[in-house]
C-alpha cells in the first residue's frame, strides 16, 4: 500500500493507535479464512471433475445447467467449460456484496480501518459512494439469485435420499452424505434468510409494522435470525466447503460414504 | 451604554439554563416572535433533565378514567404538606396533559397502552397511575425532543457559557454577564427580559444525585439582584440512592423500581414501611402485604403500598431503620424487585437501572436486591414567582423549573418536576416575551458595573498561597451533609452557620492555578460563591422553621405546627448585601378548591 494514511493532527495524540490489546488478530484470522476459502473454491470450481458421487452433487456445481454435466439438474445447453461458472456468480456475488462480508474484508484486506480506533490504511477514502463500490447496492438482486440456488440445494438434498440399485433402478435410503447435504442446505438457508436485504424486503421498509401483521411477523423472525448473520456467514462458508470436500473425496475414492439404510 | 470591551450580544429574551424548563421557555418565547437566546453552562442536552428517569406526571386518564386535574392537584398539595402555592398547583395539574401531548407532536415516543395511547405508571403519592414514561429514561426523551424542536426552530444556543452576574438598569434587569468555559473570556448579553432556568443546588451536599452544575447559580443570581427566595429549607432527600461502592454513593435509583413492584426490606427481611404509615396517609395506604401487592393490579379495591408513600416519609423511615441497626451491610436498606418480578420484566421496564447496577456495583438487579439509602435530590424552595406569569419580584426577571419555588411546597412528588418544567417553562417564556414586547427602548447595562464584575471574577487568580477550591468544596459538602441533612436540630444548624461563615472567608482567599481556558479549578472557585449563598439560605430557613414538615425535619420540633408555620413561607431577601429573613402568609386557597380536601376526610 503506497498511500499510507497520514495522521490528522487535532491537538491530541497522533499515534496510529493507543490500543494495547491484540487488535490485529481479528483481521489476520479473517484474511486467513477468506483466502483459504477463495483459493479452494476457485480451484474446485475450475477443475470440472469429481463433483458428483451418486446421489450427491457438490453445492459448487448445483444447479448443473450444462447438458454435459456429470449430473444434470436442468440441461439448458452444452457448455464447454466448468458448469460451476454458470451458477457460481450468484452465491459469489451474494457473499461479495453481503453487508457482513463487506465489513470483514474492508477491515482485513483493505484495512479501512483494520480495527476500531486504529488508523485507516489509506489516505483517501470515498467509501461506497463511487463505482465500483457503488455496486454494493445491488445486493438484493444477488439475494434473489442466491435464494434460487438454495432452493436447488434443497432439491439436491432430497435427491440424496434416492440411491442407485444394482438393477439400474433406485431405492430410498440415507447416507452420511445425505445429512451433509441437508446441513449444507440448512446453513445456507439460515445465511440467506438472515440477510439484511431480506429483512428489509420482509417488512423493515415499512414505517407502520402493526398494520401489516403478516409482514410484521416475518420481519420479526428474520430480525431474530439477522442478529446471528455473521455466525451463519461463517458456518455456512465452512460447511459448503466441507460438503464439496466430502463429495469430492467419495468421488475420488479416498473415502466411502456411510450408508445408514 | 455599555462599552463593548467584552463580546456582546443583544436579545429580547435570554433564557439561562437549557434543561426542560429553559428549553420550553425558549421555544415559547421564540414562537411569540421575539429574538431569543438560550444559554447553558454544559453542552446542549446534558442538563439535569436528561437524567430524570421515572416519568412525567399528568392526568391524561389513559390508564385510569377516574383521574382528573383535581385529583392530581389534591395529590400535589397533600404531598407538599399544603405549603404549596395553590394556584401553581392548580395550573400545573390542569395544563400538564396538554404539555405532554405537545411533546408527542414534537417527536417524543412514550411507552404505549394496548390501544395506542400514552402508557402511565405508578409513582409515590399519586393516587392513580399517572406518569407518562419511556422505560426509565423519560428525561432523556424529554430533553432530546425539546432540544431538537428548539434547534429546528432556529433558536440561538450558547453552550458552555457560565452566567455569573445579572445586570440591572434601575430596578429592572437588562442583561447578564458571564464567561465562556472554552476560552475563559467574558461575554455580555443585553436583554429586555431574562428567564432563569438554572436548576438546583444539590452539589452543596456530599451524597447527592445531582451533577456539578447544581450549584445554586440561579437562586444566587436572583437574590443578588434583589429577588425574593422562599422555602429554601425545603430540600428533598430521595429515599433511594445507591450506597455502594462509595464512589457512586448518591446516584439515583428511580422510584419506578417501587412503582413497578419493588419493595423495601430491612436486614431482617421485613417490609418495614408498614411500620411507618403516618396518620396523614393512613386512610389511603394498605395495611397488609396482601393488600399492598394486590393494589398493583387493582387500584379500585385496594389501597396503595406504603413503599410508595411520598419521598420525605420513605427517606425518614430508611434513616430510622439504619439508625436502629437494621440496615444493609453498607448502611442502607434493601430494595428488592428480583424476587417479585420476572427478569424479563425488570430488564424491559428498568433497563438503565439494570445497566447502572451491573456496571457500577456488580449487582444484577434481576437476581439480587439493591442496597439503597437517602440522597440529596431536589430543592422545593427557590426563587419566588407569581403563579400565572412566572415573574419574580424583579421586573423583567422570570424563573421556571427547579430554580423556582412554590409548586411543590414542602415536598415534591415524583414526576411532578418534569411536568413543572413544561407547564411553567412555557408560561415563563410566554410572559417574558410579552414583557419584552411591551418594553420601550434598548437594554443598557452600566459599563462600570460590568468592569467591576469582571474584576471580581478574576480575583481567584490574584490570590497567592491560598487553598485549592476543591478543598473548600469538600468542606462545605461535609458540613451540609452532617449538619443540614435529613434530620436537623438547632445546635447543629447553628454550627453549620458558623462553619459557612468561615468557609466564606476561606473562599475569599482561594487560589487557582493555570490560565482561564477551560479551567475547572477557576470555574469551581466561582461556583462556590453561589453554593455558599444557597447553603446559607437553606440553613437560615431551616433554623427558623421550628416544626417538621415535608423536606424539613427537626429533631427538636418533631411535629408539624399547623397554626404558625403551616401558614407561612419563609422569605429571604438581600438587604445591604446580607440575606434577611421574613415570614409571609401563604396565598389563600379559594373555597371551591378547599372543598377537595374536606370531602376526602
Amino acid at each position: 500500500m503506497s498511500d499510507q494514511a497520514v495522521a490528522v493532527n487535532r491537538g491530541g495524540p497522533t499515534d496510529k493507535t493507543l490500543r494495547l490489546d491484540a487488535w490485529w488478530v481479528e483481521p489476520a484470522v479473517t484474511v486467513g479464512m477468506l483466502s483459504t476459502f477463495l483459493i479452494y473454491t476457485t480451484w474446485a470450481a475450475l477443475v470440472n471433475e469429481h463433483y458428483y458421487a451418486e446421489p450427491y452433487l457438490s453445492p459448487f456445481y448445483s444447479p448443473c445447467l450444462s447438458t454435459s454435466c456429470m449430473h444434470v439438474t436442468l440441461g439448458l445447453f452444452d457448455w464447454p467449460l466448468s458448469p460451476a461458472i454458470l451458477i457460481l456468480w450468484a452465491p459469489a456475488g451474494f457473499r461479495l456484496t453481503c453487508y457482513y462480508y463487506r465489513k470483514a474484508y474492508y477491515r482485513s484486506f483493505w484495512m479501512s480501518p483494520p480495527a476500531c480506533a486504529v488508523r485507516d490504511g489509506h489516505a483517501q477514502y470515498s467509501g461506497e459512494t463511487r463505482f465500483p463500490l457503488l455496486m454494493q447496492n445491488l445486493h438484493r438482486y444477488f439475494f434473489y439469485a442466491a435464494t434460487l440456488v438454495v432452493l436447488f440445494l434443497w432439491w439436491d438434498a432430497l435427491l440424496a435420499f434416492s440411491f442407485p440399485t444394482a438393477d439400474g433402478g433406485s431405492e430410498f435410503g440415507m447416507g452420511l452424505g445425505t445429512l451433509v447435504l441437508i446441513a449444507n442446505a440448512a446453513f445456507l438457508s439460515l445465511y440467506s434468510f438472515s440477510c439484511h436485504s431480506c429483512r428489509h424486503l420482509c417488512g423493515g421498509g415499512l414505517d407502520v409494522l402493526s398494520q401489516s401483521p403478516l409482514r410484521f411477523k416475518l420481519w420479526r423472525q428474520v430480525s431474530r435470525l439477522n442478529e446471528n448473520h455473521m455466525l451463519f456467514a461463517w458456518i455456512s462458508l465452512v460447511v459448503v466447503m466441507l460438503t464439496d470436500v466430502y463429495v469430492r473425496f467419495i468421488s475420488m475414492g479416498y473415502i466411502s460414504d456411510v450408508r445408514f439404510f | 451604554m455599555a462599552n463593548d470591551k467584552y463580546e456582546t450580544h443583544e436579545y429580547d429574551v435570554i433564557v439561562i439554563g437549557a434543561g426542560g424548563a429553559g428549553l420550553r421557555a425558549a421555544i415559547e418565547a421564540s414562537a411569540a416572535g421575539v429574538k431569543t437566546a438560550l444559554i447553558c453552562k454544559s453542552l446542549l442536552g446534558k442538563a439535569h433533565t436528561v437524567m430524570a428517569e421515572g416519568g412525567i406526571a399528568a392526568a391524561l386518564r389513559n390508564v385510569y378514567q377516574e383521574d382528573n386535574w383535581k385529583v392530581h392537584f389534591r395529590d400535589t398539595m397533600r404531598g407538599g404538606k399544603m405549603l404549596n402555592n395553590w394556584r401553581m398547583a392548580q395550573l400545573h395539574a390542569q395544563e400538564a396533559p396538554d404539555r405532554v401531548l405537545e411533546l408527542e407532536e414534537w417527536g417524543a415516543l412514550f411507552d404505549r397502552t394496548k390501544d395506542g395511547r400514552i402508557l402511565q405508571r405508578d409513582f409515590g403519592g399519586h393516587r392513580y397511575a399517572r406518569l407518562a414514561h419511556v422505560g426509565d429514561r423519560t428525561g432523556l426523551e424529554m430533553i432530546r425532543t425539546l432540544q431538537q424542536h428548539a434547534v429546528h426552530k432556529g433558536i440561538d444556543v450558547y453552550m458552555e457559557c457560565n452566567i455569573q452576574r445579572l445586570l440591572k438598569d434601575g430596578d429592572r434587569v437588562c442583561g447578564a454577564f458571564g464567561y465562556w468555559r472554552e476560552s475563559g473570556k467574558f461575554v455580555t448579553f443585553k436583554s429586555k427580559a431574562i428567564v432563569l432556568a438554572t436548576g438546583g443546588v444539590g452539589k452543596a451536599w456530599k451524597f447527592t444525585s445531582n451533577s456539578w452544575e447544581y450549584t445554586g447559580d440561579g437562586t444566587t443570581l436572583a437574590a443578588d439582584v434583589g429577588a425574593d427566595l422562599i422555602d429554601m429549607e425545603m430540600i428533598q432527600f430521595h429515599p433511594t440512592g445507591m450506597v455502594w461502592p462509595n464512589s457512586v454513593r448518591g446516584i439515583l435509583v428511580t422510584e419506578g423500581v417501587r412503582g413497578d413492584g419493588g419493595t423495601l426490606r430491612n436486614s431482617e427481611g421485613e417490609r418495614f414501611m408498614f411500620n411507618y404509615i403516618t396518620d396523614y396517609f393512613r386512610a389511603e395506604t394498605a395495611e397488609t402485604e396482601e393488600e399492598a401487592d394486590a393494589w398493583y393490579e387493582d387500584k379500585t379495591n385496594n389501597r396503595r403500598t406504603p413503599d410508595l408513600l411520598p419521598r420525605d416519609e420513605v427517606a425518614r423511615a430508611i434513616n430510622a431503620e439504619v439508625k436502629a441497626g437494621r440496615g444493609s451491610p453498607h448502611g442502607g436498606v434493601l430494595l428488592d424487585i428480583a424476587s417479585r418480578r420476572s427478569a424479563e420484566y425488570i430488564a424491559r421496564r428498568l433497563p438503565s437501572m439494570h445497566h447502572q447496577f451491573k456496571e457500577l456495583a456488580d449487582v444484577d438487579i434481576t437476581k439480587e436486591p439493591m442496597e439503597v439509602g437517602p440522597t440529596c435530590h431536589y430543592i422545593m424552595g427557590g426563587v419566588r414567582v407569581e403563579a400565572d406569569t412566572a415573574a419574580t419580584t424583579v421586573p423583567g426577571l422570570y424563573a421556571a423549573g427547579e430554580v423556582a419555588a412554590g409548586l411543590h411546597g414542602a415536598n415534591r412528588l415524583g414526576g411532578n418536576s418534569l411536568s413543572d418544567l413544561l407547564v411553567f417553562g412555557r408560561r415563563a417564556g410566554l410572559y417574558a416575551a410579552q414583557y419584552a414586547q411591551n418594553l420601550e427602548g434598548h437594554p443598557s447595562p452600566d459599563a462600570d458595573q460590568i468592569e467591576q464584575y469582571a474584576q471580581e471574577l478574576l480575583a481567584p487568580f490574584n490570590n497567592d498561597g491560598g487553598e485549592n477550591p476543591y478543598t473548600v468544596h469538600m468542606a462545605l459538602q461535609d458540613c451540609m451533609q452532617n449538619l443540614v441533612g435529613i434530620i436537623r436540630t438547632e445546635s447543629e444548624l447553628k454550627k453549620a452557620q458558623t462553619e459557612i461563615a468561615s468557609l466564606k472567608e476561606r473562599l475569599a482567599k482561594v487560589t487557582v492555578e493555570g490560565h482561564r481556558q477551560y479551567n475547572p479549578g477557576w470555574n469551581l472557585a466561582l461556583d462556590l460563591q453561589s453554593l455558599l449563598t444557597t447553603a446559607e439560605a437553606t440553613t437560615m430557613g431551616a433554623l427558623e422553621r421550628k416544626e417538621s414538615r415535608g423536606g424539613h425535619t427537626r429533631e427538636d420540633h418533631p411535629g408539624p405546627d399547623p397554626d404558625k408555620y403551616g401558614k407561612i413561607n419563609l422569605v429571604l431577601r438581600r438587604k445591604d448585601g446580607e440575606l434577611s429573613l421574613s415570614e409571609e402568609p401563604l396565598p389563600e386557597m379559594p373555597d371551591d378548591l378547599k372543598e377537595l380536601f374536606e370531602e376526602s376526610k
Binding site: V8, Y125, H139, Y141, H200, G204, S210 | K46, N246
Partner: protein, 248 residues
C-alpha cells in the same frame, strides 16, 4: 482496598501537548472519572474534563482509555491490574480545546441540517395512536445519549478530515433512522441521506456499534436499513426501469 495506578493523561490544547503521568490510589468501586477527579483535587486543579451525571446518562465524559473510546464514568478501575499504567486521551476526531475536552460542535452542526419531523394529520377523534410494536424499533434509537463516541471512532472522519463536510456520521444516522421509521412521520429523507448526509461513505465496518455505550445496534438497525431504503429510491434497477417506463 486501595490500589495504586499510574494514569497517563493527555495535557495540551490545539497547538499540541503531551502525556503526563500521575500516580493515584484508587478505592474499591472507583471508575476512571473518579480517578481523574482525584487528580484534579490533589495534583492538577486545572485538568480539563467534561462530565455531568457520573452514571452513563448524559454522554459528557467521552474519552479514549488505553486507545478505546469509552465513557470515563462507566469504566471501572477493577478492569485494570493494580500497578498498571492507564492511558487517557481526548477523543481524537474533534479539535482539542484543552486536555480531555474537545470541540464537538461538528455534531451539533450536523444535527441542525437534518430535516425535521413532519407528522401526518391526527386521528378523527383528535388523538394520536401509535402502537408499541411500531414504537419499539424507534425507541432503541432514542436511547442515544449523544456521547459522540460513535462519531469519534468512525474512520470516515477520524482519519479523513476532508470527509467532514460530506459525512454526517453514525450519530446522525441513528437520528435519521428514528425519524424515517417514526410511525407517523411523512417526510422522505432518502435524498438527504444519499446526497447530504453521505450515507454511502459508511462502509459498515461497525466500529460505531462496538463503542456505543447504550448498546444501540447502530449499523444493523439504523445504517443498513437506511441503506436499503436508499436502494429502494435510487439503486434498484427494476424500480428505476419501471419509473423510466411509466415516465415518473
Amino acid at each position: 482496598m486501595a490500589s495504586e495506578f499510574t494514569m497517563r493523561v493527555w495535557r495540551g490544547d490545539i497547538s499540541g501537548g503531551e502525556f503526563k503521568d500521575y500516580r493515584v490510589e484508587a478505592q474499591e468501586g472507583m471508575v476512571v472519572l473518579d480517578v481523574i477527579h482525584t487528580i484534579q483535587a490533589t495534583q492538577a486543579p486545572d485538568l480539563a474534563v467534561r462530565w455531568n451525571c457520573k452514571a452513563g446518562k448524559c454522554g459528557s465524559c467521552s474519552a479514549e482509555i488505553n486507545g478505546k473510546p469509552r465513557l470515563m464514568c462507566m469504566t471501572r478501575m477493577n478492569l485494570f491490574e493494580p500497578g498498571e499504567t492507564i492511558t487517557i486521551s481526548p477523543i481524537q476526531t474533534f479539535p482539542l480545546l484543552r486536555d480531555l475536552v474537545t470541540d464537538v460542535s461538528f455534531n451539533y452542526e450536523k444535527a441542525k441540517s437534518i430535516p425535521a419531523l413532519k407528522l401526518k394529520a391526527k386521528e378523527a377523534d383528535g388523538t394520536r395512536r401509535m402502537y408499541q410494536d411500531d414504537v419499539d424499533r424507534v425507541q432503541e434509537f432514542h436511547k442515544c445519549i449523544e456521547c459522540f463516541l460513535c462519531q469519534d471512532v468512525c474512520h470516515v472522519i477520524r482519519d479523513h478530515e476532508d470527509n467532514k463536510p460530506e459525512f454526517a456520521g453514525p450519530r446522525s444516522f441513528v437520528r435519521l433512522a428514528s425519524l424515517e421509521m417514526h410511525p407517523l412521520d411523512e417526510e422522505d429523507r432518502r435524498e438527504f441521506l444519499k446526497s447530504d448526509a453521505g450515507l454511502g461513505y459508511c462502509n459498515i465496518t461497525k466500529c460505531c456499534t462496538e463503542v456505543c455505550p447504550e448498546g444501540i445496534h447502530i449499523t444493523d438497525n439504523a445504517i443498513i436499513p437506511l441503506k436499503e431504503r436508499v436502494v429502494d429510491a435510487y439503486y434498484d434497477p427494476v424500480v428505476w426501469l419501471m419509473n423510466k417506463l411509466t415516465g415518473k
